[in-house]
């Protein structure tokens, strides 16, 4: 296992190096540059031009800049953004990343839960009316033109029902006199969500050890509802609940859109694996033993069909950073995807390279985690 891990890490480092090189030269070769809007000014004297070029770092030849970039990259420095001067690219990413990750992790979790339970049911009742309808609706959502779904949701929930804000991240009227930044509240919101997830995970693990079904259910319900109550009460007591609620309200529509869009992916994977597992002999044995239908489905079939879903989940988390462009544009959500589009429009080269490189690192790590998880979950696989 350790040997395999070492090999993979070396591979990842080489891949990353090639990826950074390709990205760097691709963006570097883009026609025009951020500097052009200043250099085009006819009033500038040649000295000022030279000075400008030096300040933007364009006085050195490209290969020297590339080597400098690589040196900085090794020291985890992605350079300084042009359009957000003098902010560092890493600090922009650190600001934008939690928003995108929160959006996508929530929607991915919801859509995978939905996909898991729908997938196992449709496979179990293959060819029945439920299977056909759910598959059809799922595929239509899976291949829907994402902006269309976003526009429709904005229209339905924002314009007709008037229960949710149309877009944006926060409501400026509410936040005008707020004594702290939105990021301050948002990070705390993220931490609360993380705590809840952790408690759920621990209680699930404890529930596994319990003997009776009643005790299992009690553990899960008590812990989840208890944590939720404690979190809500602590938010109300802190006096920031109105701000937190504002952010949550703005998050519902993007999450809903993404969930609807992506649940079919996991559902189809689950369905296909289930169909494979159902043919195994131990399913027939379990049925012959006289076990109830849903016990065979949930305990014997679905557990064994879970593996591809778990790895798919990890890999899809890796693609969140790149996948946000459409959703974040439609909902004016200031995340990584929006930052990418803005950087592309203003030709903010360092930010553009930084975002692409960061996305690549994210995907690579997700793949590594998926590989390790595969070995941990499936005892037949040994590296």
């Amino acid at each position: 296992m350790l040997k395999f891990l070492g090999k993979r890490v070396v591979q990842i480092v080489i891949l990353l190096f090639i990826y950074v090189t390709v990205v760097y030269w691709l963006i570097e070769a883009m026609p025009g540059s951020f500097m052009d809007q200043y250099l085009m000014n006819p009033k500038l004297t040649p000295e000022i031009r030279e000075n400008l070029k030096r300040q933007f770092g364009f006085d050195k030849p490209p290969h020297v800049r590339y080597l400098l970039y690589l040196r900085n990259f090794v020291m985890l420095d992605l350079g300084v953004s042009f359009s957000y001067f003098p902010r560092k690219v890493t600090s922009i990413i650190a600001e934008r990343l939690p928003r995108t990750v929160f959006l996508f992790v929530t929607s991915t979790l919801v859509s995978y839960t939905l996909g898991y339970s729908l997938g196992k049911r449709t496979a179990w009742r293959r060819g029945k009316i439920l299977d056909k309808t759910v598959t059809m609706v799922g595929i239509v959502f899976w291949t829907i033109f994402l902006p269309l779904l976003a526009i429709f949701n904005i229209w339905l929930f924002g314009v007709i029902l008037k229960i949710l804000p149309l877009n944006q991240f926060i409501d400026p009227n509410l936040w005008r006199f707020a004594p702290f930044s939105a990021q301050y509240i948002f990070v705390r919101l993220l931490l609360s969500g993380l705590t809840f997830l952790l408690v759920m995970l621990v209680s699930l693990m404890i529930a596994q050890k319990m003997k009776t079904v009643g005790a299992k259910r009690l553990t899960i319900y008590v812990s989840s509802i208890g944590t939720l109550l404690i979190l809500i009460v602590s938010w109300i007591l802190s006096g920031h609940s109105a701000y937190a609620w504002d952010i949550i309200k703005h998050m519902v529509l993007p999450v809903l859109t993404l969930t609807l869009y992506s649940f079919a992916g996991s559902m189809l994977v689950m369905r296909d694996t289930m169909l494979d597992v159902i043919r195994e002999d131990y399913i027939t044995t379990a049925k012959a033993k006289g076990l109830p239908d849903n016990v065979v489905r949930d305990k014997h079939a679905a557990r064994n069909a879970l593996l591809p879903l778990v790895t798919n989940f990890v890999i899809s988390l890796g693609f969140t950073v790149g996948g946000g462009i459409i959703t974040e544009t439609m909902f004016s959500w200031p995340g990584i995807g929006r930052a990418y589009l803005e950087a592309l429009n203003t030709q903010d080269t360092p930010l553009l390279i930084g975002l692409l490189v960061f996305t690549g690192i994210f995907v690579l790590i997700a793949h590594l985690v998926a590989d390790v998880l595969y070995a941990v979950l499936d005892p037949r696989i040994r590296y």
Binding site: T135, V140, F145, I151, I154, V159, I325, G360
Partner: protein, 323 residues
């Protein structure tokens, strides 16, 4: 026994027979049939486009041929209807799906774009599949350096978020319809499809007839093209369907974001509505004909290709077949 029939006749017969059994299996997949129906509908719909202006002229512009000639009200790109006071106008008899902010007829724009979407999707998917199949088959057959090279290449291609990469590329070249199809096809061809097809080709490579062909002195190219590729072709054909979906979707998104240089497509129609400010707040519902028909067309065509692909997958992939 001497077979009197020429070889091509026997091959044709076998081919027809396998097609027939495939069709029998395919007929049971109602969703796939639905997809095929929608695709055929769109094909006819797009081919009928030249008739549309003629019909409309004879219905509404008989008395006024001069205005019709001057303004070409049913031209998808430069059309304008001077008889309507304000554009965009809601659906009416003259314009069954209304007009856009520039006074162009939406239905004619949609009909005009339909064949182009087909061309784009199928070109991109064909290129992807041809590249993917050849690379997958040769990587599996040769192994070694060729295999490693193409697999690592696929790893790198898969690292790039495809939409983000196409956005960067749109700064280099004007992404016309054909160029976009070419780029999407090539990018996808070196990506994940090679992994899948290589895995399939590996199962073919170990079969005895490959050894038999080798021992009779067949060349590598002959074995790859005559023995391995025909055996992985069903799977590549299947992936072609999914790639058509992806290509049409990507084109629509790029057009919607205004990054592709395509004069008219379903994505451009929605981009027109967005850039002229009709997708904000209450206007969304009021001006529904600007975005809904085009969006529904994209969704329908994409999902019908996907349904078709799923249906074929259940035939090609024995794991998914009903017992």
């Amino acid at each position: 026994m001497v077979v009197a029939e020429p070889l091509w006749k026997i091959r044709l017969k076998l081919w027809i027979r396998s097609l027939r059994t495939g069709w029998e299996l395919f007929k049971e997949k109602k969703l796939a049939l639905l997809g095929l129906g929608v695709i055929i509908f769109f094909a006819i719909f797009g081919l009928l486009y030249p008739l549309y202006p003629v019909i409309m002229r004879n219905l509404f512009w008989k008395d006024d041929p001069l205005t019709y000639q001057t303004f070409a009200p049913y031209d998808p790109i430069i059309g304008f209807d001077p008889d309507i006071v304000s554009h965009p106008s809601p659906p009416s008899l003259r314009h069954p799906l209304g007009t856009d902010p520039l006074g162009r007829d939406i239905l004619s724009m949609i009909m005009y774009s339909t064949p182009r979407e087909f061309v784009l999707g199928i070109t991109a998917a064909l290129i992807t599949v041809i590249i993917g199949t050849i690379i997958g088959a040769s990587a599996a057959y040769y192994g070694g350096v060729i295999d490693t090279f193409f697999m690592r290449l696929a790893d790198i291609v898969m690292l790039f978020p495809s939409l983000a990469l196409l956005m960067v590329l749109s700064a280099f070249i004007e992404l016309t319809l054909f160029r976009l199809a070419l780029i999407m096809g090539v990018l996808a061809g070196f990506g994940s499809i090679t992994l899948v097809l290589k895995a399939q080709a590996l199962t073919v490579k170990v079969r005895p007839f490959i050894d038999a062909a080798k021992s009779t002195g067949a060349s590598d190219a002959y074995i790859i093209f005559r023995h391995i590729i025909p055996n992985i072709l069903p799977l590549s054909f299947l992936y072609m369907m999914f790639n058509v979906t992806g290509a049409i979707f990507t084109e629509a998104v790029l057009s919607f974001l205004g990054l592709a240089n395509i004069r008219m497509s379903w994505g451009v129609i929605i981009q027109m509505a967005e850039s002229s400010g009709y997708l904000m707040g209450a206007s969304i519902g009021t001006y529904w004909w600007l975005w809904l028909p085009a969006g529904v067309c994209i969704t329908l065509l994409c999902s019908s290709f996907y349904f078709l692909g799923r249906g074929l997958e259940e035939i090609v992939n024995p794991r998914l077949r009903k017992r």
